[in-house]
């Protein structure tokens, strides 16, 4: 119990292998710390599995671009506020980034943010958000919910990336249109 700030072997390996926001990359909107937090959240939403995840496909840069070029000031400041609240919560728990949390705590964070944003899809919203993540662990939730912005941006940023479209999914080939068994295709078209 308690708030884990354990550097698990997996996390160390990930850091050492360079799977983190590129220090040399410039961001148009996000600060370095914001980018690190966003990157961690994106990777939690779409992680590395048998195919690369959001981090490897640079989703944080896509999110940064959207904030810089497409969001209005209201959205920018809301996003910034939500990330700042998470940054403060991380600081309070002695972690610089999402990855430095132990797996259970990271899971509680993401689950709380997700349930707050998509309450209709959670059977135990009360538990996850109110009695669980928010009340017990002080995970910050506020309006507009962060994941209402970050979930669609992460999904779009990943599945329109070359990695997401060609390794995780498949590009629908340029062949005459036909009705085929799903098993023949095997996965969603990009």
């Amino acid at each position: 119990m308690g708030l884990g700030v354990t550097l698990t072997p997996g996390t160390i390996a990930a850091i050492v292998s360079g799977c983190r926001p590129r220090d040399t990359a410039t961001f148009s909107f996000l600060t370095e710390r914001e980018a690190a937090i966003v990157d961690g959240l994106c990777e939690a939403i779409i992680p590395q599995t048998d195919t690369p995840g959001a981090r490897a496909s640079g989703v944080v840069h896509y999110v940064d671009m959207l904030l810089a070029e497409f969001s209005d000031d209201g959205e920018r400041s809301a996003f910034r506020d939500r990330v700042a609240e998470i940054a403060a919560w991380l600081d309070h728990n002695g972690a610089a980034t999402i990855d430095e949390l132990d797996a259970d705590t990271r899971d509680a964070l993401v689950r709380t943010l997700d349930a707050y944003a998509f309450p209709d899809d959670y059977r135990d919203v009360e538990d996850a958000v109110v009695s669980g993540g928010s009340r017990v662990q002080g995970i910050p939730i506020a309006d507009p919910p962060l994941f209402r912005m970050l979930k669609p941006w992460t999904v779009a940023g990943y599945y329109t990336s070359e990695v997401g479209a060609t390794q995780e999914l498949r590009l629908n080939p340029m062949t005459p249109y036909r009705d085929v068994p799903l098993l023949e295709v095997g996965r969603t078209w990009a």
């Binding site: 998509f118 959670y122 599945y159 036909r178 023949e184």
Partner: protein, 564 residues
């Protein structure tokens, strides 16, 4: 000096190089006439200028989809069309350069290149039926068409042999078959929906779209390779457009001069005849004059009306060929953005392969005869629709994260199925366009102003459009069926604007005769959508092309006989 050798003198001038201008230029040049084609759009080099063709999302600066604040600033109207995106922005005019007036909301979607909207169009192609040409006569709205289906039938055949339409022969009286290439395929959900809808509603038919996209080679153009977004441009010439077909054919004759970046300012007129066209050169700002024995206006309905209204003379103070006073009036369109959608939880073991540039079509089933008479409205509507499976996009608005979330999105979701109705708008004197005294475009050409709304017949029809769409989706087995009526989307948004220079027998109530020839000015022809006397509900471009082919061959004959 031999006047005929002046560089600005031609046998024929065609204003506009889109859907109909392409046909006029081809027929005129193939008949041996020295033809000048003018377009306000920029020149396009086939192939090389299709700069976003086959580009993957990750190869685009903004991943292809979004409307940027720049777009909102420079393209406030153009960005409203479904066809506008990062992939196609370069095909549209900048609204800030070409403003127009709206007495009532009207989205005027305007292309900015040679080829016009034939580059962008949805390619859906349907013949009118015999009753469509008699609608006005039968219910008294508008004036009677001066032609019947029998007059146009050979010309539908003529253009279809060159355009290339893929579709299924159905022998439906309300929707005559075209000359078809192999039809495209339906997916499993569409097949299921078709079977169930037709079983429960034997008077309704669900067919694969009839689309101007090749499934077999034609005239050196290759069959479609199913990359998906035709509107980016097609190097293989697989869909019909001026760039893919009419322009190279015209150029092969050696009789074509094509001048781009020329705004048609006015038709020059003297002593009962059009003498040529005056244009604004968009690069120099200067006015240029070109003379010809015959002038074809094919600049799109609003584009042509704008030129005609701006062509003032002592004989025609209210616009050339306007002794009737109806020029600009009885402006038509189709009303749409109404229908239904739902979800199908069956045939989940089926998927599809290939990116089909086509969908489903449901021909009109209302007000065809006594038994299909609807108490609340006249005329009718058809449906365009399709089914597909939810993809990764559904992940944007659902709970879930981590490996299980990713795994879930790796499989396609349920089938979605949707139908959108397109309805005939009646001819109303109070739907019209006119020139705006207070506004010009960046080059000094007076702007057009639209005064167009939906009236009672359209509103009553929309209720039925949404209801029958939902009824059919429920019959198809869909769940969570929802109807919609996006009445806030302005007329014009779904294109198909037409009318304003209608054909008719009586010069007192129409602008054009049965040959698309101005009653008042015999060597001036209008063959684009402006000529339409009624709108029917079928996608109109095939009919525009057939009318153009008929009118142009006739004009050539008149010229050869010395009648013009």
């Amino acid at each position: 000096m031999n006047l005929k050798s002046r560089a600005n003198d031609y046998d024929a001038i065609v204003v506009g190089t889109g859907m109909t201008g392409g046909w006029a230029m081809r027929i005129l040049t193939e008949a041996g006439l020295k033809t000048l084609a003018l377009d306000r759009g920029r020149m396009v080099e086939h192939g090389a200028d299709y700069v976003t063709e086959h580009r993957n999302a990750w190869e685009m600066p903004w991943r292809g989809g979004r409307v940027h604040s720049n777009d909102l600033e420079h393209y406030p109207i153009q960005q409203r069309t479904y066809a506008f995106s990062e992939y196609t922005r370069h095909w549209f005019v900048r609204d800030t350069d070409t403003p127009y007036g709206q007495d009532l909301p009207f989205d005027w979607i305007q292309p900015d290149m040679v080829g016009g909207k034939s580059v962008l169009w949805g390619r859906q192609s349907y013949r009118w039926s015999a009753p469509d040409f008699r609608s006005n006569l039968e219910d008294g709205h508008g004036v009677d068409w001066p032609i019947r289906y029998e007059d146009l039938e050979p010309w539908y055949e003529h253009v279809e042999r060159i355009v290339g339409i893929s579709g299924s022969a159905e022998a439906l009286p309300e929707l005559p078959d075209s000359i078809f290439q192999t039809p495209m395929a339906m997916n499993a959900a569409e097949k299921l929906a078709k079977a169930r809808i037709e079983e429960q509603h034997p008077d309704r038919h669900v067919i694969i779209g009839r689309v101007a996209v090749l499934t077999e080679p034609l005239e050196g153009r290759a069959p479609c390779h199913y990359c998906g977004p035709c509107e980016r441009g097609c190097s293989t010439r697989s869909y019909y457009s001026t760039l893919n077909s009419a322009l190279p054919a015209a150029q092969r004759t050696g009789n074509l001069t094509l001048l781009s970046r020329r705004i048609a300012h006015s038709v020059m007129y003297r002593d009962g005849r059009a003498t040529g066209v005056r244009v604004i050169n968009m690069e120099s700002g200067e006015h240029e004059e070109y003379t010809a024995r015959v002038v074809f206006l094919c600049a799109s309905a609003p584009g042509t009306l704008r030129v005609m209204l701006n062509s003032k003379s002592e004989d025609f103070p209210d616009g050339i060929a306007n002794s009737s006073g109806v020029l600009g009036k009885y402006f038509l369109n189709h009303h749409a953005r109404v229908g239904a959608s739902g979800r199908m939880e069956e045939v989940l073991d089926r998927y599809y392969e290939g990116n089909r540039p086509n969908g489903l079509f449901i021909p009109r089933f209302r007000n065809l005869d006594a038994s299909s008479r609807h108490p609340d409205f006249r005329r009718g509507y058809c449906f365009l629709g399709s089914a597909g499976r939810a993809g990764w996009g559904r992940g944007s608005s659902i709970a879930g994260f981590g490996a299980s979330f990713k795994e879930e999105l790796r499989e396609p979701g349920d089938w979605w199925i949707s139908l959108q109705a397109f309805g005939e708008v009646l001819p109303y004197e109070n739907n019209y366009v006119y020139l705006d005294d207070t506004m010009t475009d960046k080059w000094g050409m007076p702007s057009l102003r639209f005064h167009v709304r939906r009236f009672e017949n359209e509103l009553a029809m929309r209720k039925d459009m949404a209801a029958t769409a939902a009824e059919m989706l429920v019959a198809a087995g869909a769940v969570d069926v929802e109807q919609y009526d996006n009445e806030h989307i302005a007329p014009g948004n779904n294109n198909h604007e037409m009318g304003g220079a209608r054909m008719g027998r009586d010069p007192r109530t129409s602008v054009l005769n049965e040959w698309n020839q101005c009653h008042d000015v015999p060597n001036l022809f209008v063959t684009d959508g402006a000529c339409m006397t009624s709108a029917a509900c079928q996608n109109p471009s095939l009919t525009y092309m057939a009318l153009t082919a008929r009118a142009t061959f006739n004009a050539v004959e008149l010229l050869e006989n010395g009648a013009l």
